[in-house]
């Protein structure tokens, strides 16, 4: 029985398609054309310069190797924790799992600020060491070094490994390892000959995802790396905004787009083939209580590592935000809401909070307006249009925020679409980032609605709209909340695209933090900490809300 004709289904897809065409594909095409246009003043194509100039190759090389090292480090540090989550039951496990995910949902600017507050020259660690050992200069000097970047990347992506590999590991039958032991394999041999090969698809998928994230790392490198380090993303920003070399920025964007598209393609392929013929074992079988000295030691070591490594930066951020020269006070928070004359802004920082909230609300509304019809369309019976549009709607996900922002300023600053000076550009960019997430949170809920329920409602004389109202909407309610919160928090924390498209007089919170951190003085630093703390708490609260309302238990990405 058809409730909505295929024509009206097509209409549902039209709105998001038009939006993507104008605000996603058009900017991308613009990047492509600009990068392929010859640079007339020099007579050389930017593409050729990219290859011949060492600096760009070095950028590409740095982008790749830091991503590789970050991925390896993340794996090494997260796999023991993953084992603990997969194989042990312990008190507070669910809470700890949520806790480990918080870093992942934090805005990059906040992560950068948090590591600054912990390991920077005036950070908690240095201040403590100087005080205890009566030192005159900070002993830990890893600010603006690769070490800090790598640590921040591990902090960010720890949970990716924990969730993807852990989800898989916890369903792996422990009988396999026991069988191997009974056949004469030592615990080490059993791990390398049985567990690791079986986990390898999940490990590969997690590594690829971490690699993609680190490859497109922007905020962390820009803030923690200083001028010495540049990934492709950072270089795009520098070329476009500082050097005004748009063709070169476009070429770099093209490289970035091609790389991430290729990686995402491999990742999706991997995900499809990952459902290997493995009889999933129930949690009750695979997980045990830690008893015995070694078990307890492994558990305690990993749990304390997680709490310290993931908790300390967030903790120190909050400590620093209330540590003023006159002792503990909320001075920095108060400063945020005062229009001090020495402020580095054209506007008081409190306005950044106001703008951020406004943009987030706008992004939420636009993302839901587009996301709901898109998801309803995709949830319909499978056909060719759907199998084509499903990945198409996900495409913005595999495009870095910086390239999106750069595409916006390339494409939308002259007629017919001159939006350069319009504040709507910011929520539009945020919508683009949030749209795939909204669709993905709505789809499972929509697909879970039994068609029989709709048939029953229709039999009782309800029209298509009435059916949707009485059957779909109540079930969708939770998913809508999740999608809305997703869009809202993504918008609040978005940095890369916003840096390109925001007007100086309408900064968002991440921009304000970035500017505060770039300015000297304890007051600016303190306000950066205060604003980061606010943003961190809002993001964490948003995440907790989503976990509560989520329809399917999320262990995958």
């Amino acid at each position: 029985m058809k409730h909505i004709s295929s024509k009206s289904y097509a209409l549902l897809a039209a709105l998001p398609l038009v939006f993507l065409a104008i605000f996603y594909f058009y900017p991308l095409i613009k990047i492509l054309t600009v990068s392929l246009t010859l640079d007339e003043t020099l007579g050389f194509g930017s593409l050729k310069r990219l290859i011949t100039r060492g600096i760009y190759l070095r950028t590409l090389w740095f982008t790749t190797w830091q991503a590789v090292v970050s991925t390896i480090l993340t794996l090494l540090l997260a796999l023991p924790g993953t084992y603990v989550f997969a194989r042990y039951q312990f008190w507070g496990k669910a809470l700890l799992r949520s806790f480990t995910t918080v870093p992942f949902v934090l805005p990059t600017v906040v992560v950068a600020a948090a590591f600054h507050s912990l390991l920077g020259p005036g950070g908690l660690v240095n201040a403590g060491l100087m005080k205890w050992f009566h030192l005159t200069s900070p002993p830990v000097a890893i600010d603006q070094t690769i070490a800090l970047i790598l640590i921040a990347h591990v902090f960010y992506n720890y949970t990716v490994v924990l969730r993807i590999v852990g989800g898989y590991w916890s369903r792996l039958d422990p009988g396999l390892t026991e069988s191997a032991k009974m056949l004469g394999a030592s615990p080490g041999k059993a791990f390398f000959k049985v567990t690791l090969p079986l986990l390898s698809p999940a490990i590969l998928a997690a590594s690829l995802l971490v690699f993609i994230f680190c490859f497109s790392s922007f905020g962390v490198i820009l803030i923690l790396g200083g001028p010495r380090f540049a990934t492709i993303e950072v270089e795009i920003y520098r070329q476009a905004i500082h050097l005004l070399n748009l063709p070169m920025a476009a070429v770099l964007s093209l490289v970035q787009i091609l790389f991430t598209f290729a990686l995402m393609w491999v990742y999706t392929r991997l995900q499809r083939s990952r459902s290997m013929a493995l009889k999933p074992a129930s949690r009750a079988v695979t997980q045990k209580k830690a008893d015995g000295g070694i078990d307890r030691l492994i558990l305690a070591a990993n749990v304390s590592f997680m709490i310290l490594f993931l908790g300390l930066p967030m903790f120190s951020l909050m400590v620093q935000s209330v540590t003023t020269e006159t002792g503990v006070s909320l001075g920095f928070y108060k400063n945020l809401f005062e229009n001090a004359t020495e402020s580095v802004f054209f506007v008081p920082p409190a306005d950044a909070v106001f703008y951020s909230l406004g943009f987030a609300l706008a992004a939420l509304l636009i993302a839901l307006t587009l996301g709901v019809p898109a998801a309803v369309f995709l949830a319909g019976p499978a056909n060719r249009a759907r199998s084509l549009l499903d990945p198409l709607f996900m495409l913005p996900l595999s495009t870095s925020a910086v390239t999106l922002g750069f595409g916006f300023i390339l494409a939308l600053d002259k007629p017919p679409l001159n939006l350069r000076t319009s504040p709507i550009l910011v929520p539009l960019a945020h919508t683009l980032v949030a749209f795939p997430f909204v669709v993905r949170s709505l789809l499972p809920a929509l697909r879970s609605i039994p068609p029989k329920l709709k048939d029953a409602a229709a039999m009782m004389g309800a029209g298509p709209l009435k059916v949707w109202q009485t059957v779909d909407l109540p079930i969708l309610g939770r998913a809508l909340v999740v999608g809305a919160v997703f869009a809202f928090t993504i918008s609040l924390g978005e940095f890369g695209a916003t840096l390109f498209v925001a007007r100086p007089q309408t900064p968002t919170m991440p921009l304000a933090i970035y500017r505060f951190l770039g300015q000297p003085g304890a007051a600016n630093y303190g306000q950066a900490m205060a604003m980061s703390s606010i943003l961190m708490l809002v993001s964490a609260a948003g995440f907790m809300l989503m976990e509560k309302f989520r329809v399917t238990q999320g262990e995958e990405f």
Binding site: E178, A180, M182
Partner: protein, 354 residues
């Protein structure tokens, strides 16, 4: 002292005894069945012997040596798990070869042994098969070949037929028994099915609630269950409570019964097991031996079972008894009143109700 000795094993999970003072001994070349319902501790005991589980007190000895400090992979025991736990990333050959390759045997020897094992379990030509595409019975045989490949000192089977369907089970049980006997390996076999245990076991240990209720040869076990629990677990339903009489026999609701070998002092409360195949039907007025008991009853239910007919008889005081009668004697039909005679050989005295 046997090849394997389990001495006073205790294990509790959060204050509940999974195993309580378990003692067992297994002779070389024998097959010992651990028989009991799920949750009786038989799998826990097996895992303790394998070294996969710890014991709170007590020791496991093999060939006179205490195993408590020897980790599972050094015990050289073979174990077949209930769901077989075949390595899904390896094919049949590599599954069977796993233990041999770990021992760093030469490829030639590994190959010869794997082929020998596959021949033993009747899976020649299956070497390159993906284990994820095997049927349940094939998986079971691969698992058996894998456990036997490195010539374990002790083979442990945890419900080896438990995850297979019934029709397949009966056939594979016989195959399994033949292979084990052919190899001659000392075997521990865990099952909840007494028919399965009767078929394969040299000795059966019936377990109840973490304790060993009885250890005996299958036939002894069947003939003389040590207590009511064992009797009920073996499927006996005609259990009558009674008190040992002063003079002779046992007083019960069915009248005075005369089971074999009453070695209990008068006045003791006991249970009498009446075998389902032990009753005789007689006509009224037919003479009976003084050691025999006559019971009057009505046939409530008559079930044709193929080789015999199963009758549910309601005796005059309202007690239900179950009997099997051979077809040649034309068993009575439902509703018919009958006169049953129980001789001493039809009854077993079970001392003490637990």
């Amino acid at each position: 002292m046997g090849l394997l000795d389990v001495v006073d094993i205790k294990r509790d999970f959060n204050g509940v005894f999974a195993l309580d003072s378990v003692n067992l001994s297994l002779e070389a070349g024998n097959l010992l069945c651990l028989l009991g319902p799920s949750g009786c501790g038989k799998t826990t005991l097996l895992r303790i012997i394998a070294g996969l589980e710890k014991t709170d007190t007590g020791i496991v000895k093999f060939d006179g040596r205490d195993l408590s400090r020897i980790s599972p992979h050094r015990r050289a025991f073979g174990m077949m798990f209930q769901d077989f736990s075949l390595f899904p990333h390896k094919n049949v050959y590599d599954n069977v070869a796993f233990a041999l390759q770990l021992k760093k045997e030469s490829p030639k020897r590994v190959r010869r042994r794997v082929m020998q094992m596959l021949h033993l379990v009747g899976l020649e030509g299956f070497e390159m098969r993906d284990v994820n595409r095997l049927s349940g019975g094939e998986c079971q045989r691969v698992a058996l070949a894998r456990s036997l490949a490195s010539e374990p000192r002790l083979l442990m089977l945890d419900e080896p037929l438990g995850s297979l369907d019934r029709a397949l089970r009966e056939r594979l049980l016989v195959d399994l028994y033949r292979i084990i006997k052919q190899v001659g390996v000392t075997t521990l076999y865990v099952t909840h099915d007494h028919a399965e245990a009767f078929t394969v076991a040299d000795v059966i240990a019936v377990m109840n609630n973490g304790r060993v209720a009885q250890v005996d040869k299958p036939e002894t076990l069947y003939r003389q269950p040590a207590n009511e629990y064992v009797a009920r677990f073996l499927g006996f339903r005609n259990l009558v409570e009674g008190v040992v009489a002063e003079s002779n026999g046992i007083n019960s609701v069915l009248g005075r019964l005369y089971p074999q070998k009453i070695q209990v002092s008068p006045g003791t409360r006991v249970t009498v097991l009446i075998r389902p195949e032990g009753a005789r039907i007689i006509d009224a007025g037919q003479a009976v031996d003084p050691k025999e008991t006559t019971i009057l009853g009505t046939v409530k239910e008559r079930l044709f079972k193929g080789g015999h007919v199963n009758l549910t008889v309601q005796t005059e005081p309202g007690f239900l008894l179950n009997f099997d009668f051979s077809l040649d004697l034309l068993p009575p039909s439902t509703g018919q009143n009958i006169r049953l005679v129980l001789g001493p050989s039809a009854m077993v005295l079970i001392p003490g109700t637990e």
